[in-house]
């Protein structure tokens, strides 16, 4: 397969003309008024003693109302620090940056024009290693060993990587599927093969079966319409009842022999959606219902929107009440006025926001779950626990992948608040799962103050005996403008030991770090956000994906390039917890193939657990103090003396374990015991 890297050339003459005329304008006028825009930072200084760290978020939220700009938008950050922001190269700027994969010291960033590889060993100054022009959307990228896989779905992707697109509706030059590259020399990727699929590859997931060292498997998810049969033989979009070979209602599994990747081919098309039985649905979470009851008791204004009750924020109530009073021609509101206002509220809301308010109190049973999907958007594979989370149309699915060629469905959940299930993330121990709802497909502004917090959000489920049970939602808490595309998108766990902490992209809503250890009470603990790319109309931008990788947090910014962050200590996370997270080392990372985090036995791991037990009051203050002292004593000692201190401490901790946090005390005692046995 021919694989060259042609230089980018602007597609039209008019583009070139515009470029020069803009440069001229910039040159002419750009010299004046060059005052830097303010950077709003509310980050705690790391030098501060831990006692001063707060768990109170800045108020008002500094993310609201940030000024626009491409490379000079206003920024807000809390408990996280931007180390570097590297713009795309000339060949890639102005074209959508997509997903990320990591291998060794390299971050590979997909772009609708190809891929860029950065050396991130100095996170404050990543350096470009190579750029490879080979257009196809979405160019989602994965790695395994010396292989790199890239998704192609759009109509303009070519087998020969040409930039001219494919004009014909039916063409044998078109690539929609998976491209396979050899990256033995990452500076010079070699395009070795591809596998064409009927719906192209919107995303894909690489499965390394623990019991098979000779192959990897790629689960292909495609959501675009089926290709014509004239272009790719055997592609049919008839319903499976009419054509058993329909490309609908199935996923594709590609087998890649590691010794002969050029022989990669589709080996099965499992119909994991067949015979879906009605999964349970749910309405509001218990926490939401309790909040509503409390609000009602305190006299808050409550409206019913979209079949669900919502508390109307004061910033909406006050102006509405004022104009209501004005219309009545009265001054100070009386109790009677308030009552009248309460009754008129549904009409006012409908008029003001164009949103339908439910005036009936008709609490019928749910009409049942959304039925069968035709495809998955994304499948998160977690081979170490033998499970996958499939985000498939109107369903979130739990799959058994112990036989990689024949995944089977264990459970499926639907959610009346979820429009389009996008992706999944498991807790490290596999007992919890988070699904995202990419409502509006990522191109729409779904984080406005008027957009319900259950729509376009994350939903959390516990997994018990292969069944998922809904617990709560989490949505970016900062309202965004109507020119910022914003909805739940890609993220990964940060390996804070003993907790579920995740960093997640929200497109132009920025990135949000939240703790979902308590499934019923997820809470935001850090964030970074920029103002819109364009103040005047919706421009495509923001974080496509953000992942933790070996101590840093790397974000693929759709318009602005590659951002690298570090998490800062705060009232939520101690320095020891961050240091313990940073002891986890990965050789590579594809987030759609979740890897189990394993923490080496270190003193800082023990201290991280001590900090958590102090926070949760799982041990008494005196026990916390003495444990810290003993850990210091042990670290300062060696040989038999160290072993003795640690062995004694471990036994004391086991004796002290009680209450809700007993399990964590046992985890701490286990680390201390392992430290003892690891001491020479």
């Amino acid at each position: 397969m021919k694989a060259t890297a042609p230089n980018y050339r602007p597609a039209t003459r008019s583009g070139i003309n515009y470029f020069w005329s803009f440069l001229f304008v910039v040159g002419l006028l750009g010299v004046s008024a060059c005052a830097p825009k303010p950077v709003i930072t509310t980050t705690s200084t790391p030098a501060q003693p831990e006692a001063t760290y707060t768990t109170t978020a800045p108020s008002p939220d500094p993310r609201v109302g940030l000024g626009a700009g491409l490379f000079d938008a206003e920024e807000a950050a809390w408990n996280i620090r931007l180390l570097s922001s590297t713009p795309p190269t000339e060949a890639f700027v102005g074209v959508t940056n997509s997903d990320l994969a990591f291998t060794g010291k390299y971050a590979i960033q997909g772009n609708y024009n190809g891929i860029q590889v950065f050396d991130i060993s100095n996170p404050s100054n990543p350096s470009l290693v190579t750029e490879y022009v080979c257009p196809a959307s979405q160019s989602d990228v994965s790695v395994y060993g010396n292989l790199m896989f890239v998704s192609g779905e759009g109509l303009g992707g070519r087998l020969d990587c040409g930039t001219e697109g494919v004009k014909e509706a039916v063409s044998h030059d078109r690539l929609r599927g998976i491209r396979i590259f050899n990256i033995d020399d990452i500076k010079n990727p070699v395009y070795i093969s591809n596998v064409q699929t009927c719906r192209g590859s919107h995303t894909h997931s690489v499965l390394k079966d623990p019991n098979d060292d000779e192959n990897v498997y790629i689960y292909v998810s495609g959501s675009a319409p089926v290709r014509p049969e004239d272009e790719l033989a055997g592609c049919s979009d008839a319903s499976p009842d009419e054509d058993p070979n329909s490309a609908l209602f199935r996923i594709e599994v590609i087998k890649v022999p590691l010794d002969h990747p050029e022989q990669a081919a589709i080996v099965s098309s499992p119909r994991i959606f067949d015979d879906l039985v009605a999964p349970p649905t749910h309405g509001q979470s218990p926490a939401d219902i309790a909040e509503m009851e409390a609000a009602r008791a305190s006299g808050a204004f409550i409206v019913k929107l979209g079949g669900q009750e919502r508390i109307l924020p004061a910033r909406f109530v006050t102006p509405m009440l004022n104009s209501f009073m004005e219309e009545r021609g009265e001054g100070e509101a009386t109790a009677a006025d308030t009552l009248a206002f309460r009754e008129a509220l549904p009409g006012i809301i409908a008029e003001r926001f164009g949103i339908n308010v439910d005036d009936d109190e008709n609490e019928e049973e749910d009409a049942g779950p959304p039925p069968g999907p035709t495809q998955c958007h994304d499948i998160t594979l977690y081979p170490e626990i033998g499970l996958a989370g499939g985000a498939c149309g109107g369903y979130g699915m739990l799959l058994d992948i112990s036989d990689p060629e024949h995944p089977t469905r264990m459970d499926a959940v639907a959610d009346s608040n979820f429009s389009y299930w996008h992706s999944a993330t498991f807790s490290n121990d596999g007992t919890k799962i988070l699904f995202t709802d990419e409502w509006g497909g990522g191109g729409q502004p779904k984080c406005r103050a008027t957009d319900p917090k259950e729509w376009g959000a994350n939903a959390f489920f516990s997994i018990e005996s292969g069944k998922m049970e809904f617990k709560s939602y989490y949505k970016l808490p900062a309202a965004q403008t109507s020119v910022e595309n914003c909805v739940a998108h890609n993220g990964s766990l940060i390996p804070i030991p003993g907790r579920e902490v995740m960093v997640q992209s929200w497109y132009q809503g920025g990135i949000s770090v939240f703790d979902w250890t308590d499934l019923e009470n997820p809470i935001e603990i850090a964030y970074h956000d920029r103002g819109p790319v364009n103040a005047d109309e919706m421009g495509n931008g923001g974080s496509w994906s953000v992942y933790w990788y070996n101590g840093v947090i790397v974000s693929s910014e759709i318009a602005r390039g590659l951002d690298v962050f570090e998490l800062l200590p705060s009232g939520f996370i101690s320095e020891n917890e961050i240091a313990a997270a940073n002891t986890v080392k990965l050789d590579y990372l594809n987030t759609q193939g979740q890897q189990k985090y394993v923490w080496p036995t270190t003193f800082v791991l023990a201290r991280a657990y001590v900090d958590q037990l102090e926070r949760s009051k799982g041990l008494s203050a005196s026990r916390i103090a003495s444990t810290r002292q003993e850990l210091t004593n042990a670290e300062n000692a060696s040989g038999r003396a160290r072993r003795n201190v640690l062995t004694t401490l471990s036994a004391e901790l086991i004796d002290a374990a009680a209450g809700d946090e007993a399990a964590k005390v046992h985890m701490l005692a286990g680390v201390v015991r392992d430290l003892a046995s690891g001491t020479p």
Binding site: F22, G30, A169, D275, A350, N356, E364, E537, A559
Partner: protein, 235 residues
């Protein structure tokens, strides 16, 4: 129902704003540029890179066909009729699930109408304006595109829906919205069957998203309809 307008912004104003943005962004420092000496781009500063960004965005707007324009123009009217249908739910005794579904349809399709209008506007094409008065839909500037769109309800069907209440409304709404959504997926299939269409990134994404969202919603509505008819939700 109140009258709703989706107004076109003046193209000239948009261009002026665009230039002002470019000028202010020329103030950016050049520190954060990272390049490898082996791959030396000619854009030496962030300002040059930003100029290239906007120029490329601009040139990408020339990659469209008549079929893309027809799709956007037609789909605006198609979506607008969905707003009318969904807007009837609160006053026609729809059940809670259909209220939720309708609120979502209104939110999603209003935003998509704005996206399609922006797509047309930024490509110098006529921008249809939607005017809804009760159950009457007037689309200004769409030519003959609106009434011919697949799946759209006839005037008789709209009136039939408007005359129904409660469970009758629920059943009719689902039946007609399934018909309406299926029409949208036919429009997407037709778009992609035309040479050169759907090459524009935004057009491809919007059409694919509409396709997948509405297929998901059709399946959801079919299940609701089966339950309303007293049948098992599954086949």
């Amino acid at each position: 129902m109140s009258e709703r307008h989706f107004r076109a912004q003046h193209y000239f104003l948009h261009t002026v704003v665009f230039l002002v943005l470019l000028v202010t962004s020329a103030c950016r420092s050049t520190e954060s540029i990272t390049t490898d000496s082996a791959i030396k781009p000619s854009a030496d500063t962030t300002a040059d890179l930003e100029a290239l960004y906007w120029a490329r965005k601009d040139s990408a707007r020339t990659l469209f066909t008549d079929a893309d324009v027809e799709f956007m123009t037609g789909m605006i009217g198609h979506h607008a009729q969905a707003l009318i249908m969904a807007g009837l739910a609160p006053t026609h005794g729809a059940n809670t699930q259909i209220q939720t579904l309708c609120a979502r349809i209104i939110n999603a399709q209003q935003d998509e109408i704005a996206t399609m209008q922006q797509w047309l506007r930024s490509r110098g094409q006529p921008v249809p304006e939607v005017q809804i008065t009760g159950t009457t839909l007037i689309v200004h500037g769409a030519g003959e595109h609106v009434t011919r769109m697949p799946g759209m309800l006839t005037e008789k069907q709209i009136h039939e829906l408007d005359d129904s209440q409660g469970a009758d409304f629920d059943r009719l709404f689902l039946t007609y919205m399934i018909q309406h959504h299926r029409g949208a997926t036919v429009m997407v299939d037709e778009l992609f069957s035309k040479d050169g269409a759907g090459q524009d990134e935004l057009a491809f994404k919007l059409a694919s998203d509409i396709n997948v969202d509405q297929i998901t919603e059709i399946a959801r509505m079919e299940r609701m309809l089966r339950i309303l008819s007293g049948k098992s939700p599954d086949h």
